[in-house]
Symmetry: C2
Subunit: 397 residues, 2 copies
C-alpha cells in the first residue's frame, strides 16, 4: 500500500509554483518578456567564469577515478579544509574540516541538522515570514515546526511571543537571515538578544537549544548593512549554507553544514550527519561539484544586479504609497498589500501581467513577495504596469 | 539534545571500512602495490571518454543558467525521456518520463522507494547475502528489514523460508541481482517463482506487495548469463538504478527510479517521490550530471576487466579446494571460508597481505567476499599469496 502521507501532499498545491506556471502560460500568449514575473527565487545571473574553468580543469587535468570517485561520507577533506579556511578568514572563526559536512544545498543541510539535534516530537521554532518549505523540511523529520508570528514593523523578531513559545519542548530555533521572503537582515542587536534568550532558556530547562542558521543569501548583502556571522554570537549554532545563490548553481545541489567549534558535541554532530545520510539516502553531493566549489570558495557571480533592482522597486513602491521595509539583502522584497486579503490583491495584479506572491504561505498574510531576480530592464518596464495596477484598482494615493 | 539514535550508530564500526583502512595503513609500510586489497567495491576503470566529452560540451556550449539551474523536483524531463527510451529499447518496456524519478544513486532510489510503499512499522524482506547498508536504508525509514537466510547452495532464493516470512506485514521485497556480495545473477526461473509467490500472497492478503529491485550491477553481466529485466516479470516493480558502476562515476551520485507502467499507482508513486524528497532534503541530483548521464545513457566504462579477474580468481579458488558459486556478474565473488568462523579466516589472511571481508555483515556467516575491482596484474600477483595462505594455514588440499 502506498504511503498516504505523501500521496495526500500531492493535493497541496504550491502557490508559488502555480503562479510560476501561470506566468509561463501567459508568456506563451503575449511573449514572456511582457509578463512581469516576480514569482520565482531563481538566480538571474550566470555562474562565474571561475566555476566553469574549475570544472573544465578537473575534467581535463584531473584523475577521472578521483574526480568522479566516491566522496568520504562526510565530504571530501580537502574541500572541507578550504571551506573552513574561507569561513575563518572572513568571519574570524576557528573551524577545521572536522566541523564541516558537505550537503546537497541548504535543504540537505537543514535535513541533517534537524535530525541531529531533535527527536520525533520535539519542537523547532521559526519566525514569520519564512520559507514555506520549512514545513516539510521539519515536519517530515518527525519534529514539529512552530512559527512565531512576524514583527511586521521591521521584520526583525517578535521577542515577546518568542519567549512565550520557547518552551521546554523546543530543541532548535531555525532562522534565515538575510531572509526569504522579507529581504531583511537581522541586526546585531536582534541576534544578540536572540542568543541571550536562548542561553537563558537553555540553562533554565537544563538542555541545549540549537540555533540552525539557514544562510543561502549570506553573500547578497546591500550597502550599509552590517554583516554579522550568526555563529559568532551563539556557540550552539549549526550554519546551513548553499552555493545556489552565491555561485548561481542551484541545480548543482551543493552546500554545507558548519558546526561552531564551541558548540557542544560539535564534531560528534558532524559525524552523526554521516549516519543520518545513510537513513535518508543522501550520501554526499557530487564529487566534481564539491571540488569545483572548493576552487571558487571565495568567488561569487556578479550579484550587484539584485541591489540595483531592489532600489528601483523600493523607490517606486514607496512612491506608490506602499508600506514596505527596505531589504538589506537577498533578491526579495515584501511589501504590505493594499487590501487585507493579499491573495485577492495578487489575483488583481495578474490583470496587469504582474506576478506577485501572497504572503500567506510565508506565514504572513496581508503582505506579498516580489522576487526581483530578473533583468533590470524588465524591472524598469514593470513600473508603469505597477503604477497602473495600483491607480486603477486602489485609486490615486 | 543530540539524537542518541545516530550518536549510537557511531559506535558500530563498518567491517569493510576497517579492513580498507587496515589495507591503506599496511600499504604505507610495504607499498600499497603489495597489499592484495579485495575489500572495497569501487570501480577500477575510469569513466568513458564520452562522459567527459558530454560534461565539457555542456560547460562550453550550454547555457550556464540552464546547465546549472534548478532541476524540476522529479528530474529533468529531457533526461527522463532518454532514460525511458533506453530502457524501452533494451528491455521492451513502455516507460515514459512520467515513470522515471532521478535520484542520487541507488541509495537515493531505495530511500524514496521504501518511503513510497511502506509506512513505519511495515516489514521489508530481503535475501542473504545482501549489501549491509540495507539495514540503515530500510530501518531508518521506519520500516523494518527482515532477512531471508541464504540459499548457500546456489545463492538463488530459499523459497521455503521466504514463503514463511512473507506475512501480511510485508509491504515490499528488496532484491539485488546481480548480487553484492555473491556475484550471482537470479535466473529467470528464480524471478518467475518469486513473482508467482508475491502475486499469490498479494491476493491472499488483499494488499499490494511491491518489488524493489536494486540494480547497480545490471551492466556487469558475464558470458553465458541470461539478462532478465526484473520488472518484466512482476508489474509492481520499482527498479532502482545507479550509474556508479556502469559509468564509473560513484562520486557523482546519479541514478533513478523506474516504476513499471503496469504498477498500481505508477505515476502517483513517482509524484510522491517528489514529496518524499522535501522531507529528506534530497532534492534532485546535480543538473549537469543528469544532463551528461542522459547523453551517455547507453555507454559504459570498459567493464570487461571484471570478468577477466573473476575467471582468474574463480579457477584458482576451485583449484585450491574452495566451495564457490561462479559469479554471473558484478565484481564480487563469495566463496566458503576454510573454517567455520569466516572472521578468523579473514584475520589469518591478513598475514599474507590478503584483505578479505567476512560474510557475517552480509547476513551470511562462514563465507567471505572478494571485491576484484582491481588491476588484473594485481589479481595475478595475489595468487601465490592466496596459495601460500591456504597451504600454510589449512594444509595441502
Amino acid at each position: 500500500m502506498i504511503a498516504e502521507q505523501y500521496k495526500e501532499m500531492l493535493n497541496g498545491k504550491s502557490v508559488i509554483r502555480e503562479l510560476s506556471e501561470y506566468a509561463t502560460a501567459r508568456g506563451k500568449e503575449i511573449g514572456y518578456e511582457n509578463v512581469f514575473d516576480y514569482s520565482l527565487g531563481n538566480p538571474s545571473v550566470p555562474a562565474p567564469e571561475s566555476f566553469k574553468e574549475a570544472m573544465i580543469k578537473l575534467l581535463t587535468e584531473g584523475d577521472a577515478m578521483e574526480v568522479h570517485g566516491y566522496s568520504p561520507s562526510l565530504g571530501i577533506v580537502s574541500v572541507k579544509e578550504k571551506v573552513a579556511a574561507s569561513l575563518n578568514r572572513r568571519f574570524g572563526m576557528s573551524y577545521t574540516f572536522r566541523h564541516i559536512f558537505m550537503t546537497a544545498g541548504a535543504a540537505g543541510a537543514i535535513a541533517h541538522a534537524v535530525r541531529a539535534v531533535t527527536v520525533p516530537g520535539d519542537e523547532v521554532l521559526t519566525f514569520a515570514p519564512h520559507f514555506p518549505e520549512y514545513h516539510p523540511y521539519i515536519n517530515l523529520s518527525g519534529a514539529k515546526l512552530k512559527v512565531v508570528p512576524a514583527d511586521t514593523e521591521k521584520f526583525q523578531i517578535n521577542f515577546a511571543v518568542f519567549e512565550e513559545m520557547l518552551t521546554d519542548k523546543v530543541m532548535a530555533v531555525l532562522i534565515n537571515t538575510p531572509n526569504n521572503p522579507s529581504g531583511i537582515v537581522y541586526t546585531r542587536e536582534t541576534l544578540e538578544k536572540l542568543a541571550d534568550i536562548m542561553k537563558r532558556k537553555s540553562e533554565e530547562y537544563g538542555h541545549d537549544i540549537y540555533l540552525i542558521s539557514d544562510e543561502p543569501y549570506r553573500e547578497i548583502l546591500f550597502e550599509g548593512v552590517e554583516e554579522v556571522y550568526v555563529s559568532k554570537l551563539y556557540d550552539n549554532t549549526i550554519s546551513c549554507y548553499s552555493y545556489s545563490k552565491s555561485l548561481s548553481i542551484p541545480g548543482e545541489r551543493i552546500g554545507y553544514i558548519a558546526v561552531n567549534p564551541a558548540c557542544k558535541d560539535a564534531e560528534t554532530i558532524v559525524n552523526m550527519c554521516g549516519q543520518i545520510s545513510r537513513g535518508i539516502g543522501h550520501n554526499c553531493p557530487s564529487s566534481i561539484i564539491q571540488l569545483a566549489a572548493a576552487e571558487t570558495v571565495d568567488d561569487t557571480s556578479e550579484l550587484s544586479v539584485y541591489e540595483t533592482n531592489m532600489n528601483i522597486l523600493y523607490d517606486e513602491l514607496i512612491k506608490l504609497g506602499f508600506t514596505c521595509v527596505k531589504p538589506g539583502g537577498t533578491f526579495y522584497i515584501f511589501p504590505k498589500a493594499l487590501e487585507e486579503d493579499a491573495k485577492a490583491f495578487c489575483e488583481k495584479a495578474k490583470k496587469y501581467d504582474l506576478i506577485l506572491v501572497p504572503g500567506d504561505s510565508f506565514g504572513c498574510p496581508g503582505y506579498f513577495r516580489m522576487a526581483y531576480c530578473i533583468a533590470t530592464e524588465k524591472v524598469e518596464r514593470s513600473l508603469p504596469a505597477l503604477r497602473k495596477f495600483v491607480e486603477t484598482e486602489y485609486g490615486k494615493r
